[in-house]
């Protein structure tokens, strides 16, 4: 069989991944039309390209259905609780930088730290009879982060997109989301807590610890690793 390399199937993440491999003389491309999720690999033998949604790459790596995969640290940590047993980081690719942060309304002049957030949550619950709602799609990461910080009286509410808008829309009081520049936060009258960095993420090449390798695949992996370590 061939060594399976999972790469995000569209957008800038795919293009930048292709560019990164091209720098190491491994040419990845999508074959056929733009709608067809098939790919080809040139410049190295016995490696095949699997185009997947970035969110599915962690699961495929953990299941051992792909040997290598490119996806963000944030997705690996959130989707794979035992990620250290399942995958190993091969290389950080230097793009796709994104921080998972906690942000609150800019007008909350009394809240700058997690400690403040906790106190504000207690007051909020007293007044509104409702736990302070934090909108996010990174449930596990955010819950663990807030639990370790000893924050109580909050509730996570699911938000799969336009998370920065949830506060103005009245469906959450605070958010935990990926931000790369902070412009969207400012436009939505939000500010980042000074100790509210949950995770600093970037696009990373991961190797599955669970995928079996036959002789041919093992050789291909060794070749690929030696190529990118230059």
């Amino acid at each position: 069989m061939t060594l399976k390399l999972g790469v995000p199937s569209k957008g800038r993440l795919m293009e930048k991944t292709f560019d990164w491999f091209a720098k190491h003389d491994i040419v990845l491309s999508r074959s056929g039309s733009d709608r067809e999720y098939a790919g080809k690999v040139e410049g190295i033998d016995d490696v095949s390209l699997v185009l997947l949604s970035a969110g599915e790459i962690p699961r495929e790596l953990a299941a051992g259905r792909i040997h290598l995969g490119v996806t963000g640290t944030d997705l690996i940590h959130d989707k794979l609780p035992l990620w250290e047993d399942q995958v190993v980081s091969v290389a950080e690719l230097g793009f796709g930088h994104a921080d998972l942060i906690i942000a609150v309304p800019n007008a909350w002049v009394d809240v700058d730290t997690l400690d403040d957030l906790d106190a504000a949550a207690a007051m909020f619950r007293d007044i509104h009879g409702l736990r302070l709602r934090v909108a996010t799609k990174y449930h596990r990461l955010v819950r663990e982060f807030l639990r370790d910080a000893g924050v109580a009286d909050y509730a996570l509410v699911d938000s799969q997109g336009a998370t920065e808008g949830t506060v103005a829309n009245g469906t959450a009081e605070a958010i935990a989301d990926i931000t790369s520049t902070g412009d969207t936060l400012r436009a939505n009258h939000l500010k980042i807590l000074s100790d509210g960095l949950v995770l600093a993420s970037q696009a990373t090449l991961w190797r599955s610890r669970t995928a079996d390798l036959d002789t041919k695949e093992r050789t291909a992996l060794a070749t690929l690793l030696s190529r990118i370590k230059i």
């Binding site: 609780p81 035992l82 309304p105 800019n106 007008a107 909350w108 002049v109 009394d110 700058d112 730290t113 400690d115 906790d118 106190a119 504000a120 207690a122 007051m123 909020f124 007044i127 509104h128 736990r131 449930h139 596990r140 819950r143 663990e144 807030l146 639990r147 910080a149 000893g150 924050v151 109580a152 009286d153 909050y154 509730a155 996570l156 506060v167 103005a168 009245g170 959450a172 009081e173 939505n188 009258h189 939000l190 000074s194």
Partner: protein, 358 residues
Amino acid sequence: MTEARNRALALRANFEAAGAVVVEPPVLQPAETLLDLYGEDIRARAYITSDALRGEQMLRPDFTVPVVQTHMADGAEPARYTYAGEVFRRQENDLERASEFLQVGYEVFDRSNPAATDAEVFALVSTAVSHLDVRASTGDIGILMAAVCGLKTSERRKAALIRHVWRPRRFRALLDRFSGRSTVPESRLALLADTDPFQNVGAIVGKRTRSEISARVAALHEDATTDPISSTEMDVIDALLNVRETVPFALEQLRDLAVDMPAISHAVEGLHARSDALSGRGVDVDNLAFEASYGRTSMEYYDGFVFGFYINGRADLPALASGGRYDALTKRLGNGAEIPAVGAVLRPGLMVELEGAQ
């Protein structure tokens, strides 16, 4: 599983013989009650499912809450209940831990004599596990709570500390701040120095209003002028948290501490009464371990006596049995009513497994 189930039923029969009524709460529990009680943490520990009609349901993570609800709805007093069945615990970090296991429990709702009911529950559980190589740990969260309530500081600070009794790290951070042991963050100093903090903040978005924000700013100003908790009081709290002795020696140390902090006297005498009641039931209190910090990281409903039985030399295994007093929980779930309550659970599956190994 059959052997474990038989053991569960036998244990339940023993509790029934001790005067308990058998109850069988449903496996599916409305998620709302448990979420309201435990907050977001329960989502990490319980399986949640849903349907379009009843909304979110939880596979019961324990029996205590439904048993309390049943009792508070229509229970006669005093009451004793027992149950046996599966509980479900979501595991996110450790594949070795069971996500489904049998639990047998015994719960007492009785206002007459808390020391006697504490001892009754402990002694029944102790008898059930005494054939195994176990050691017991005990504690009393009520003593720490009494110490906090007795501090010579603002009500707001006491409330903040009580709220975090079950989160030892945050509790410690608050104590350090209130006693002036830790430095005040820059942002807090800047806020306190700012005469018009709302200048340049832009639009106020979300449900938390400007007056709520102002109220907390005022509270922070008030707090900044509150005297730090004295080093004498801090020393008592630190000494209290470090009490780790057999019951008679722990009692002696706590009585000494009560001289400096009379607010804990009542709770310490409660420990004395419990110790006598345990002796009366044949428990060897002279060799029973007491730790003032014990039980603070468990579910946040125990507010008095707490205990657990652990297998010697098997730190990898969870407690074989655990329990405690949860007076405040009956109030939270009682719609205005309340009753002192104490209970415990055992893990028959683990018992059978260990008996096989012995």
